[in-house]
Structure formats: structure tokens, C-alpha cells
Subunit: 340 residues, 2 copies
């Protein structure tokens, strides 16, 4: 990614092992994330180009001398962040606060997954080896465990989604759609999706959304109040990251409710300090510890109880990645899978 709108496929030196805790993976599937659209819209020209991609299913090609749980040939989920698996935060299940955390494909040191192969630091802690022989048709859903399904699940967990608690999901992108899956999976009976794209709303309904609110701002708040008996939603999954989305989240939260924000926030201060206070609303969330969630979510994927892979509606090779960005940006596609 050279700048907003300027994505190029280039040959770079082959990835390889560097540290004894590294693994090298060949990318079997990768994808383009809604969060990749932020630099696609905003990155200024003239800076260093950024290697993109932070979600993958890979095949282990080589491991360092200190890697103990992975073998060459393992099929693995690569979460969007690396984590050592041993520090106090990893033990608490908050791998994205690992003392050795690093984020793939964000322009810093780590490589990107929209590529043929990449180096994985702290491979034992970072990668999750899949059981042998997983059906190829499950690949799209397994790939979502690298980010969007785990991230939607995080929003649902943080916002306390569950039986007897009305859930509202702000945003009909892939994360929001996975948030619907997660809220339903955790037992929410009423799930409101706030969005306005027909194809996405149809998928949200398939995933379990019971109400659709396509208004924005104050009108959206009023509409949510109507469908919740006047009090709002107990669990608000904020899956966008804009200031307006967050203000809406505070507006539709029921007193005593909670907001799980997982859209990377593009605002310096959280709006709605006073209404959030007077309603005793919790605001939580952040980068999802997807590595910690895989063990919990995987059985439901393997046994077909959830099908988050349906968020992929386009598949491209590496050469198709630039057009994939355009298609997601233009809302032609919900989420693009990359098969290098």
C-alpha cells in the first residue's frame, strides 16, 4: 500500500526464519479487512509503503529451533497479532496485550499476509494448529477465526451479550455480521442490526438478526428505542470505529448496559461522556484476543453450527488484491478472500 487508493503487488525478498521462536508459513488463504480500508482511504503519499494483510490460514514450511508445538506441514490459523503465549496477559487470555505483541501488516516491523509467505514471531504462542483433514469447504469460516469472527465475538463478550439481553450491532461489515453470529451464539434472542446495505442485511438476517434499523444518528436512536420497548439495548456491539457510530452506541445503550467497541476508533475522545455516565453504561473493547478465542469457536465452525465464512463474497489471487480493495471500498463486496 503506497498511499490511499494505491495498492501494488511487488516482489520482495523471500520471507525466512530470523529468531529461534519463528515459524515460516506459506499462505493458503488470506483476506482484506475492513480495517485495511482506513489506510486505503487515508494513507498519505510519500511515506514508506506498507505491507498489508493480517489474517491468514497458512501451512508451516519451517520452524526455528525453539518452536516446540508446531511441525512442518501443520495447517494453522494466523491471528492478526503475534503473542508469546507465556506472559501474564496471554495467560489471562488478553493476547493482544502480550508484552511481545506485534501486529501483522500494519506498516511496522512485521510482514503482511496478503503475500505468498511470511515470518511468524513467537510461533508457538501465535499460531493455532488446526486438526488434520479439515474440509476445504470450511476454509472460509476457519479463516475468519484469524480476525473478524473473533473480533465480532469480542464485541459480544465485552458487551455482555446473552440470554435475556437485547443486542444491537452497529455496522454491517464483516465484523458486524460476525457480531450477529456471536450474539446469537451466546444466547441473545433479539438482535438488532444497524446498517443499510441490502446484501449485508440479508446476511445479517440469515445469521440471526431479528430487527433492522437503517436510519442514522438521532433517527437511529429513536428507532432502536421503539423496537426495544423504550429503554434501548443491553449489549451494543460497535463495529465501525467512527465518532458518529460511537455516539449512536451510547444513545441506544440501555441504562446499565454495555458497549463493546471493536472498530478501530478514529476519534480522540469517546463521545457521550454525560449520557454514558448518567445511564451507568460500560464502554469496553479493543483489539480482540482472537488467539484466545479460537479454541472456543473452532468446534462450532468444524461442526457447522456457525458459518462466518459466508461473509466472503469474492475470491481473488494476489494479482486481484488491488481490485479487491476497490470492491470493498465501493461496497461491491463485503469481504474479499485472497488465494495466493
Amino acid at each position: 500500500m503506497y498511499a490511499a487508493g494505491d495498492v501494488r503487488i511487488e516482489n520482495i525478498p523471500d520471507a525466512g526464519l530470523r529468531d529461534p521462536t519463528d515459524a515460516l508459513i506459506r499462505v493458503a488463504r488470506a483476506c482484506i479487512c475492513g480495517s485495511d480500508l482506513w489506510p486505503y482511504n487515508l494513507k498519505k503519499p510519500g511515506g514508506s509503503p506498507q505491507r498489508m494483510g493480517h489474517e491468514a490460514i497458512g501451512i508451516v514450511e519451517a520452524v526455528g529451533s525453539e518452536v516446540s508445538t508446531l511441525k512442518v506441514g501443520n495447517v494453522v490459523v494466523m491471528p492478526f497479532a503475534c503473542s508469546d503465549g507465556t506472559c501474564t496477559f496471554c495467560h489471562e487470555g488478553l493476547n493482544t496485550a502480550c508484552v511481545h505483541v506485534g501486529f501483522f501488516g500494519n506498516g511496522d516491523e512485521l510482514d503482511g499476509a496478503q503475500a505468498e509467505a511470511l515470518r511468524i514471531p513467537y510461533a508457538d504462542g501465535t499460531l493455532f494448529a488446526l486438526p488434520a483433514g479439515a474440509d476445504d469447504t470450511l476454509m472460509p469460516s476457519l479463516l475468519t477465526l484469524a480476525d473478524v469472527m473473533g473480533t465480532g465475538h469480542h464485541a459480544a463478550i465485552v458487551s455482555g451479550a446473552g440470554p435475556g439481553r437485547i443486542a444491537a450491532v452497529i455496522g454491517d461489515g464483516a465484523v458486524g455480521l460476525c457480531g450477529v453470529i456471536a450474539a446469537k451464539r451466546l444466547g441473545s434472542e433479539q438482535i438488532i442490526i444497524l446498517g443499510r446495505h441490502d446484501d449485508r442485511i440479508a446476511l445479517a438476517r440469515k445469521f440471526g438478526a431479528t430487527d433492522v434499523v437503517s436510519e442514522r444518528g438521532d433517527a437511529a436512536v429513536a428507532r432502536v428505542m421503539e423496537v426495544t420497548g423504550g429503554f434501548g439495548a443491553h449489549s451494543v456491539l460497535e463495529c465501525v470505529g467512527t465518532e458518529q457510530a460511537m455516539a449512536t452506541a451510547v444513545g441506544i445503550a440501555r441504562p446499565g448496559g454495555a458497549i463493546g467497541r471493536v472498530g478501530v476508533p478514529h476519534y480522540q475522545a469517546i463521545p457521550g461522556s454525560l449520557p454514558a455516565f448518567f445511564k451507568n453504561v460500560f464502554v469496553g473493547g479493543g483489539p480482540a484476543p482472537v488467539r484466545a478465542y479460537i479454541a472456543d469457536l473452532l468446534p462450532d465452525v468444524l461442526e457447522g453450527r456457525i458459518e462466518p465464512g459466508l461473509v466472503f463474497d469474492r475470491e481473488v489471487g494476489l494479482e486481484g488484491v488491488p481490485d479487491g480493495y476497490r470492491a470493498m471500498h465501493d461496497r461491491e463486496s463485503i469481504k474479499v478472500m485472497v488465494k495466493p
Copy 2:
């Protein structure tokens, strides 16, 4: 309260019953709250004068025809808000979100408790009758159940204070001091108080604070990191309400930690959106449902296990209230008790 710095004691028409669910109480003890200092500092001249006071121990003098649980002569705690005790929020223990909530002494319809007597709406739901014969020496501690002890407890509950979780209390006013009591009572072993008044810090230590941080801003954050092994506090009790205090709260919160804010926020947006997000820090809190907490806290007061009444360091009659405001404003007094 006519305006900032202008507090007067005046004769007004006697309080009486209005609705069948009302009670009339004679005030045995009231007090001045840190939150009363906001209008004492900021109220513009020329508006309607505000009847002040929202914390009291009272004696029931009369009850309306629909009051069923209270009798004339009962000694009661009057929480800072009225609540009907029957709505969905009261049943959930969030009385301050009651569909009939009202706040005493805030300039709206309800009377203030810095007075001889006042009308209490929804008396069954609002008032908490104390067991007969409570020792007079317990009155100060019982009085704190009307607000500051319950509010400090709320900050501790919302921030998840408990065994194995380091607590940090921002603010050494009466609420912060009660927050120390609450954190210790819930099992926190390390409790950091952020404050800089010798008398208050001494009391904080007596209540269980193990560390004192008297720096401000970035220096305070650095110091908390030092005394917490570099990661910060799991539970941050924000008992001030300024933007700077909230920014400090975000700064000192450990990844995965929680902030309970109970100082009435005097800022429009919550600072630190990005650090709170990247650390997955929860921000919660609001007006404490002190009515719901009394049953839990009362036995510890009656049996002397906690002694929050020590926050009172001055007692005045009604005529001494204006000087009481001045003394609290000048930090001559932590909290002033009023005995009409």
C-alpha cells in the same frame, strides 16, 4: 444556593405530603457533598436559587396512604435519589435509572436535605429503615450510606476491585476515601491512593491504602507504573470528575483493567479513546445505586468492620452550613456533617 459562593439559610414553607406514596422526614443528620462544590464554584448569579443537600438520616414524621413499609418514628437512610422500588431498573439493582428517579437538592423539583425536613417521593422504594436502637455513635457512618460510602463502593464494584487485583483510587475526597474502604472490603491487597492532602492521605492509610501517589498528570502515571510492576492498576476508582482525572485513570489502567468513574464528569467526551481501546480497558460507572447497596454495606457498619463516618471532620448546625461549604472548598474540612 443563590450563586457560586453564595449560600443562605432561609425559611421556606413547611414540607408536607403531596402524593399518597410520599413520606415526610425530619432531618436528624445531613451533610455537604463534594458534588455540592460544583455549583458552589460554578453557579451563575441570577438564576433560581437551588435547595441543597441530598444525603440524610431522617425520622419519619408522616406517611401517605399508599406507603406500606414505613411507620412514623422509623429512622431511615435517605439516598441521594428517589426510586420507586418496583420498576425493571430497581429490580435490577440500578435504582438511579428508575423510571421515576429524581435527585434531591439538585435544583429540580425535589427538596434538599440541608434543611429541617423534606418530602420523600416513593418512600417505600426510596428510604431504607434502619434497625431500631442503632447506636448514636454510628450515625456518621450510617449517614455515609446515603451517598459517599455507596458511591465509593460503586466505583469499586464497577472497576472489579477484589483479590489479586491492584486498585488505584483517584481523589482523596470523601468518595475517594470511601473507595479505599470499599476496595479493601472487597479484597484488594494493594490499594494506591492518588491525592496530596496530608490529613486525607492519613485517613486513606487508616482505611487500607498501601501506596500514596501525590504527583499529577504524566508524573502520576509514571509513579503508578513504578509501584505496580510496570503494568498499572486492574481497578481504577475515578472519584473526581475532571477531564484530567479521567485521562490519568486511562493512563494508569492495566491492559484488561476497568475504570469505575463516580465523580460527576465535567467533560463532554471521555479522554484517551485510543489508549483505552488498545489496552482493552473498560470505562464504567455513573450515579451509584446506593439504595441497592445499603443492605449489603449495613452489617459491616453496624458491626464496626468499616467506619466510613471518619470522613466527617466537622459538625455544624443549619446556620453553619454556609461556612461549611467554605471550609470544604478551602480543603479545611474533608466533609461536613449538618445537625439541624
